[in-house]
């Protein structure tokens, strides 16, 4: 047997088999981030490490009220953290107290008749999905990934693939909050919409969201309808999609590979089948390594990125006719996207552009964006397009009319020089967006200037004034407050 193994052709086969297997055991990395009292605290990107003083795990309402009142008395600062997927230090502050909401995660009630769910703010979207799918229900709006906490999603006013029901904040019927001075309050959409609009999309600066009641809808079954669309006709195409009530969800991808740069796109429509899934199973992440292998191929840039784009497009177009439940459509995979290369980081940016300005915006981007960024320090890996309806539920509102969200995945070095290069690049994106009456999203690293923030959010000064009125001791603070909101005072 052993002699047989020594034959060169047997050894050659062994080498090939082990080499192929090694490709598949290349680990899916996990970013090291989170809260710590002894080491530096960071959020998902790790770009803003900070030393905090204390972490309080949220247990009950009385404890939370007591922490807030004590902080007011002692002149301490409080930040609120969920799963910390925001990327700009929104969940901690230098020498401050962090309230970790993750343990505060009970599903309090699912009302099948009224189609609502009441949950504690630390619960994950996936926890809600598990509770409501058994009753044939699904969230009315949620991000497309189920890994975020409810409190976090509402504080950043998350949005997803749904094109009919606005952002997540607009589905809040009732919420319990703790004000910056330590008063437990219940707010309802009917009676307190104005007050709620500061907590929702308020980035944790107006107090603690304790629990919320969210609207649900039927866990409908949708048929995938992928299609390749010409970039120049997307505006018209999208208007037809919005006019077609049988389409419940929609998103698109725009090419960023050198060969088709901003010249190709495909869309995915989720068409109603008229069926509702009762107690349908939730999908789990599968083929993570294979997906990661594909994404890593795209990350190489150049021809590999083109190959990845073509493969991805073919895979999507092959989904035609297959079906998916609403819960599962709001439950995309995310583990394969992990990226932990030393000295480099992948970050998100989002720009919201009015639907009618889409073509002009893309044409404007083409005038300055490099077609091939393989050898650049700042690389654009992906553009996903989402649709957000006009938002009237939040003060720091990013969609003053129906908008197309350009969700960008950008890689850049984590060195100071690399961050500065990314700043220049992202500020140019922001200027382009602002030139077309666009806005940008705020849960990310503060690459933008104060002037750009003021231009995108003219209501910011009013929001700051209200904040100082409600929180005169400035107890609820975070890096977002320092880097953006506080700066509009001048």
């Amino acid at each position: 047997m052993f002699n047989y193994l020594k034959k060169p052709w047997v050894l050659a086969i062994l080498v090939v088999v082990i080499a192929i297997s090694a490709f598949f055991i290349i680990p899916v990395e996990k970013r090291q981030y989170g809260l710590s009292e002894t080491a530096m605290t960071t959020d998902y990107t790790g770009l803003l490490p900070e030393k905090i003083e204390t972490i309080h795990e949220a247990n009950n309402r009385e404890q939370l009220v007591s922490i807030v009142r004590q902080a007011n008395q002692d002149g301490k600062k409080i930040s609120i953290a969920g799963v910390q997927h925001s990327q700009g230090g929104h969940t901690y502050y230098k020498d401050g107290i962090v309230i970790d909401m993750k343990p505060f995660n009970k599903i309090l009630n699912v009302d099948q008749k009224k189609k609502t769910v009441t949950v504690e703010a630390g619960a994950l979207i996936s926890d809600i999905q598990q509770a409501v799918t058994k009753k044939g229900l699904a969230l009315k709006v949620s991000q497309s990934l189920p890994i975020f906490s409810v409190g976090g999603s509402l504080s950043v006013n998350g949005h997803g693939r749904d094109i009919r029901n606005g952002s997540m904040a607009s589905t809040v019927q009732k919420m319990t909050v703790i004000t910056p001075t330590g008063t437990l309050k219940t707010l309802t959409k009917k009676a307190n919409q104005q007050e709620m609009s500061y907590y929702l999309g308020g980035y944790g600066l107006f107090g603690i969201i304790v629990d919320v009641t969210l609207s649900l809808t039927d866990n409908e079954v949708y048929a995938y309808e992928p299609e390749e669309v010409a970039v120049s006709s997307y505006e018209t195409y999208l208007k037809n999609v919005l006019a077609d009530d049988s389409i419940a969800m929609h998103y698109a991808r725009l090419s960023v590979d050198p060969e088709h740069f901003l010249n190709e796109m495909y869309v995915m429509n989720y068409k109603k089948t008229g069926r509702v899934a009762q107690n349908a199973a939730l999908k789990e992440e599968t083929q993570i390594r294979l997906s990661k292998l594909g994404l890593d191929l795209g990350r190489q840039g150049g021809k590999a990125e083109t190959l990845f784009w073509n493969m991805q497009k073919d895979l999507f177009l092959k989904k035609t006719g297959k079906t998916i439940t609403r819960n599962n459509a709001m439950r995309s995979e995310s583990t394969f996207m992990e990226y932990t290369k030393k000295g480099s980081v992948e970050v998100l940016q989002e720009f919201f552009i009015p639907i009618d300005a889409y073509e002009e915006f893309v044409a404007h981007l083409k005038t300055w964006l490099p077609k091939d960024d393989q050898h650049d320090e700042v690389k654009l890996h992906n553009i996903t397009l989402r649709i957000v309806s006009k938002d009237e539920s939040t003060q720091l509102n990013y969609a003053r009319e129906p908008m197309i969200a350009f969700v960008l995945l950008i890689q850049h070095p984590s060195s100071e020089t690399g961050i500065n290069q990314a700043k220049t690049y992202i500020q140019k994106w922001t200027d382009t967006a602002l030139a077309h009456n666009g806005t940008y999203y705020l849960p990310y690293y503060p690459y933008q200037t104060t002037e750009q923030f003021k231009a995108a959010y003219p209501q910011a000064k009013h929001v700051l004034d209200y904040k100082l009125e409600q929180d005169p001791n400035e107890v609820f603070v975070n890096h977002f407050y320092d880097n953006y909101l506080q700066k509009v005072a001048n």
């Binding site: 060169p8 050894l11 062994l14 080498v15 082990i18 080499a19 290349i26 680990p27 990395e29 890593d296």
Partner: protein, 169 residues
């Protein structure tokens, strides 16, 4: 010429700890680290068997393969692509090369002399390297790669001259 193999054996032993540090960083988990070693070993066995079968006389191209591997690893921090996948290829080439070289080396008359010199040189050189703290493992691997490339050029030129002389006779 007969001392060139000594550069390979001593150099390999010297850079081995640095290569291990690099490999551990790249592979992220012990499982993958171990699989990479398995791959190296099987490739070495294949290289050994092929060399024995061919009873090769000239191995100057082996120096080039070695050099490419170490230069690649030495420059890895500059690559824009994710070199975890490329490491699979490096392990195969390096394993194959080491097996092939060893099969050739043990059949040379000067092997016994080299073996003793190898141990002595590695011992002294390691002591010397212990005083160097300001360079990265990649830098040392890169320097060794360059040295091997020079060795390859020297061996190739030597091989060409010798072949021409033989033909002239």
């Amino acid at each position: 010429m007969r001392f060139l193999p000594l550069i390979v054996t001593v150099g390999n032993a010297l850079v081995f700890p640095y290569y291990i540090i690099w490999l551990k960083n790249v592979t992220l988990t012990f499982s993958l680290f171990a699989w990479m070693f398995a791959l190296h070993s099987f490739a070495a066995a294949l290289g050994y068997q092929l060399c024995v079968k061919k009873s090769t006389k000239s191995i100057h191209w082996i120096y080039a393969m070695y050099a490419l591997c170490f230069i690649f690893v030495g420059l890895s921090s500059f690559w824009t692509f994710d070199y975890t996948y490329a490491t699979v290829a490096v392990q195969i080439v390096l394993g194959f090369t080491q097996g092939y070289f060893r099969a050739w080396h043990v059949h040379q008359l000067f092997y016994t002399l080299h073996a003793v010199s190898n141990y002595l040189l590695v011992g002294f050189a390691m002591l010397g390297l212990s005083f160097i703290h300001i360079v990265t493992p990649q830098f040392i691997l890169f320097v060794f790669g360059c040295l091997l490339f020079i060795t390859f050029l020297y061996a190739t030129i030597h091989h060409i001259i010798r072949t021409k002389k033989k033909l002239a006779r």
